[in-house]
Symmetry: C2
Subunit: 435 residues, 2 copies
């Protein structure tokens, strides 16, 4: 019987707060960090995953991942790998631990880390990158991994099966297309609040020249600054180039409506996180008031249950799934199916550390068998910290290149893990000074 | 300058899963546990608080409380104690740590533990039990501790001030009334799913004889069993005695509607947690379908932002605040003000370990200066584990007796902390066997 032999969880942090990369109206000085997991099986196999965090508190995620992984102790891992809905149930619905969420925040992200590490093992066994492994599963197998708890009034198992069965037609052509052409990307690199106007404009021009289909600017610090910055970029890129804006949950509902209306002369493509991502009704009110500006959110949406409601009240035009916010691959399949059912586009959140590496698999899978197109869709791209990954993101001509390495792409270089372990790794010892 | 000198966080668990106390349709075998905090100041003062959990995972809460408390390092504690809105901001809105929530789950409850420990110190300094300390604050001071972020489209600071100013009239009489008469309680003791019909009926009769104004039965395991159990209790107690039912989030929306309709011939007083507590729209649909049965929820509602929406869509009749789910006293004042604005009754969740001790302060305060009445309102009461507290709950004639000991009543006996620390305390060493 294959057993869990070790859950090695590491606190890996990068001192990005020393630059102004990653600064926005709310996250003023993040140290992009990963609560990193290696799930060692008695077979000798290792599943890799991570949860992204903003620095402080990464140690809480590490503690949570260790505790959630311990729920697998004594389980027949072959049985769980063969029944990923059951594997998810073991870590998401533990009767004692569920009080910590349920299905939200630290404990839910920890469950996601464990689930994703199991998918890494499954895809490695099949010698396929995760997206292709998922795309080659049957419709029945895919529905069989989804937890439909508390979403059945919006998406039944039968409806999900219909969506996936329709997606089988032309699947091989789409897989071939992805391998040849990749998937469109957008970039947030020009738009951090800490950048000067000159740097913002230079990076915006570079982004267009590099082939990105959309750029995004952070807003919400000062309306005066935002109007100047958005106007500068709009003037520089012309009337039609998609320029999205992102407030990172800074505003009250009424404030969001006023602020976006003030910026609407420059035709923003979407407004992202206009208010608390937990405010489903607030997002609906905002969307109704600022149309035709699209409403986007999702990087902090805690579960499929909140996405369901955002869709039920027509609060969003763009679903921004995140690879490490929810309970892993299983729940993100549910999210993609909900988006397909309600006809909204999916433009995944990425950046941070490792999020680009992981989340591309979901868009590639989505194109292959769920939405079956990529029109108006982009995966976020930020050019940070990819050098630490064994299978780093490659973006060429503004497109994510199809991953080919087996697994979920979360594995980091052993040297990166050693150097950047917090607080004892050599790089941190150097930065923090000797004790 | 007063500084934080130590944040002592302990993992305290009680083996309640060995009995069937506390069993419901979802929480099948909880070990009632406390992530317990002593906040030691350089002045020698100690603030006490705790977060309730279901057992496994309590170590994650302990880790989170340590990390959140460390955010106070170097702060002038006198300045924070004098400005509790700022104290809350420091622990709730830390720019790096907020990614872990924001404002939900483990990290949010940890923030609540730290905030509550500070209130414990404030009330002890004033030599008043928390409820009376709060009741004697001015309306302006009370509004000054509330974080109105992301609720201002439902409750403005000015509206909150109006509510509190109206509550000043007759305050002294109501405080005197509370001291003489206490506050109505209801009991869940008869209704656990694991109890035999005989035990349920015996305890139900005892509850009525003891003066409780309402009893609650757990439902959601099997409809056949629920119909039998609810009918037995209804027959035993007569047509008018309030009997509430509680599904602990077991059902899908449609299932909840069918199940409650099947039980409605026996006139349930409210249905509690009919579906996911995160499903605001689902609760609204259920309420519309099962009227006149009241809809109650709240013990797992993550923040004021979710309560706001439950009220905006008229999804609940009964707000069930919990003392350790949200970010402490400050956020529960926001919740009470939201309930007052929208005209719903507040019947706090309690039970577990320490929840009765802490939450009574909120209902007493609510009666004194917010809602100004207790009609149709009850504080949940379960007769478990009170012996571990220095200022235990006293219920007489079905009423919570007014607390008189200074502070928030979270302090546990030193011997209880020693005996039940997990896993190394003597009681656990005995239960778990020697290693």
């Amino acid at each position: 019987m294959t057993l869990l032999s070790q859950a090695r969880a590491l606190d890996i942090r990068f001192p990005t707060s020393l630059e102004l990369d990653g600064s926005d109206a709310v996250n003023v000085n993040p140290d992009y960090s990963a609560a990193y997991l290696e799930l060692h099986l008695s077979s000798g196999e290792i599943g890799h995953s991570l949860v992204f965090t903003g620095g402080r508190g990464n140690e809480i995620m590490v503690s949570a991942i260790r505790s959630v992984a311990a729920l697998l102790d004594g389980h027949d891992m072959e049985a769980l790998l063969a029944d990923m809905r059951e594997a998810s149930r073991v870590v998401v619905h533990d009767s004692q631990m569920r009080w910590l969420g349920p299905e939200k925040g630290v404990s839910h992200m920890a469950a996601g880390a464990v689930v994703n590490a199991l998918w890494d093992i499954k895809a490695r066994r099949a010698q396929l990158p995760l997206w292709e492994y998922l795309a080659r599963m049957s419709s029945e197998e895919l529905v069989g991994v989804v937890d439909f708890t508390h979403i059945q009034n919006a998406l039944t198992e039968a409806e999900a099966l219909d969506i996936l069965r329709r997606g089988q037609a032309g699947k091989e052509e789409r897989i071939a297309h992805l391998r040849s052409n990749g998937y469109p990307a957008y970039t947030t690199t020009p738009g951090w609040l800490g950048y000067s106007d000159e740097k913002m404009l230079r990076l915006s021009h570079e982004a267009v020249a590099d082939g990105f289909g959309l750029i995004k600017l952070k807003v919400g610090g000062s309306l005066e600054d935002d109007m100047r910055r958005v106007a500068l970029v709009r003037d520089a890129l012309g009337p039609d180039f998609p320029v999205a804006i992102d407030a990172n949950q800074k505003w009250e509902v009424g404030e969001a409506i006023e602020w976006v209306k003030a910026l609407s002369p420059w035709n923003p493509y979407w407004i992202e996180e206009a208010t608390s991502t937990d405010d489903i009704l607030g997002h609906a009110d905002i969307r109704a008031a600022i149309s035709p500006v699209r409403v986007a959110t999702g990087e902090a949406v805690q579960s499929r249950i909140v996405f369901k409601q955002l869709l039920q009240v027509q609060a969003i035009d763009v679903m921004q799934i995140d690879s490490t916010r929810v309970a892993g691959v299983n729940e993100n399949i549910a999210n993609l199916l909900l988006a397909a059912k309600f006809g909204v586009i999916v433009c995944p959140h990425a950046g941070g550390v490792g999020l680009c590496e992981l989340v591309r698999h979901f868009s590639f899978f989505d194109y292959a068998v769920v939405s079956t197109h990529s029109e108006g869709r982009f995966i976020e791209y930020v050019d940070h910290l990819h050098e630490h990954f064994v299978d780093p993101v490659v973006v060429e001509g503004g497109k994510y290149v199809a991953p080919r390495v087996p697994g979920i792409s979360a594995e980091m270089h052993a040297d990166s893990l050693t150097q950047w372990e917090y607080p004892g790794g050599p790089e941190w010892t150097r930065l923090l000074g000797s004790p």
